[in-house]
């Protein structure tokens, strides 16, 4: 139990998927204008990542490994992820039309969010158990949501600040992202095992 808790903490904070592994930077920059859509995006991505980790584990251990089809890994993983994202899109469109409008193009783009495929491939590469890969994916997705929320909150406040014209907009966001990344590097000092 403690091992899983530590795994959750280490994937969410120490090995944060956005700020330490630099995966999933497109929604990190794209959907962080306000907290509401950042939260929606984070939750949708969390759902997709967790589901994709489970589905790709089943694929890896029931199809790819027994039949020696390792060369199909990326192909099948992308297929499963794309189907999951389509499903999430339908659910969001049905249950939260406002969120569907706010997320816009970024919702179908979860398919190409490299964090999703990256985590699925990492769990396959490290030959984790089913539960461990689930916790690994869920923890990483929580870290993604957390960073997206922090970044969106900071950007909401920065939108009201007076900044020199040369820094306004994207440049300031990049500087902010680098500072946030530096802050998360501080977690590297924690060692659990």
């Amino acid at each position: 139990m403690t091992a899983y808790l530590l795994l959750l903490l280490s994937t969410a904070l120490v090995n944060n998927v956005v700020l330490v592994k630099f995966l999933g930077l497109c929604p990190f920059m794209g959907v962080s204008r306000n907290m509401d859509s950042a939260l929606g995006m984070g939750l949708a991505t969390t759902f997709v990542i967790t589901l994709a980790c489970a589905a790709t584990w089943l694929l890896e251990h029931w199809l790819l490994a027994p039949f020696d089809l390792g060369y199909l890994r990326i192909l099948t993983f992308i297929l499963v992820i794309a189907a999951t994202v389509q499903f999430v899109e339908m659910v969001v469109k049905k249950s939260a039309p406002a969120l569907y409008q706010a997320l816009g193009i970024y919702l179908p783009l979860i398919t190409t969010n490299c964090a999703v495929l990256g985590l699925a491939l990492l769990t396959a590469q490290e030959k984790m158990s089913f539960l461990r890969s689930l916790v690994y994916g869920f923890g990483s997705a929580l870290g993604f949501t957390l960073v997206l929320l922090i970044f969106a909150g900071l950007r909401e406040r920065l939108a009201l600040a007076r900044v020199p014209a040369a820094f306004a907009g994207a440049p300031l966001s990049f500087i902010l992202a680098s500072l946030l990344s530096l802050a998360f590097m501080g977690f590297a000092g924690l060692s659990f095992q």
Partner: protein, 181 residues
């Protein structure tokens, strides 16, 4: 190889079936009136109405939060069509109607700064940096986005010049009177 083909086919079929079932389960009825209004709008997403593009404006018109006269490029003709479709009567005297207009570049003062071509929603303005720009008549919707951008006031909205391509025989006078009555 056959195993790979078979497994991918099976996977695709299963996922397709699952998605098909989910699509039925989570089906959302699209509002037909919004789609109909959107089809009537110019569709160049110029933003002069204050909404983010024609689809948003169509949605606002459909739920009544925007008047049918909201679209400047559409002018009187569009307002009439929308009012007829929605079954409401409108006062058209306030709608400016100079007929169809397009932007025209005054070639003697254009400095070729390219600012106008960047804001054109239909890519109707051609020209490179430090080259005199020109407007493609067939593509221009007369939205007027480029007028304010021009630093030398070289762009003007003018009534669509009558050319052989779109000159039409004037309608007989009696029909006009019948419509007015």
């Amino acid at each position: 190889m056959w195993l790979a083909i078979f497994s991918l086919t099976l996977l695709g079929t299963l996922l397709g079936l699952a998605l098909g079932l989910a699509a039925k389960r989570f089906h959302v009825e699209a509002s037909s009136i919004v789609a109909e209004i959107e089809a009537l709008m110019p569709g160049s997403n110029c933003g002069q109405c204050g909404f983010a593009g024609c689809p948003r404006a169509a949605a606002a018109i459909a739920d009544g939060s925007a008047p049918v006269t909201v679209c400047p490029p559409g002018g009187k003709a569009l307002a009439q069509m929308l009012a007829a479709r929605l079954g409401i009567s409108i006062d058209l005297t306030s709608v400016a109607d100079e007929g169809p207009q397009i932007a025209i570049v005054a070639e003697d003062i254009c400095i070729g700064c390219c600012r106008c071509s960047k804001v054109c929603p239909t890519d109707a303005i051609v020209g490179a940096a430090k080259q005199i720009h020109n407007v493609i008549r067939e593509a221009c919707t007369g939205c007027g986005n480029c007028i304010d951008r021009c630093p030398t006031e070289a762009l003007l909205l003018q009534p669509l010049p009558v050319t052989v391509q779109h000159w039409v025989w004037p309608k007989p006078a009696t029909v006009v009177i019948a419509l007015a009555v």
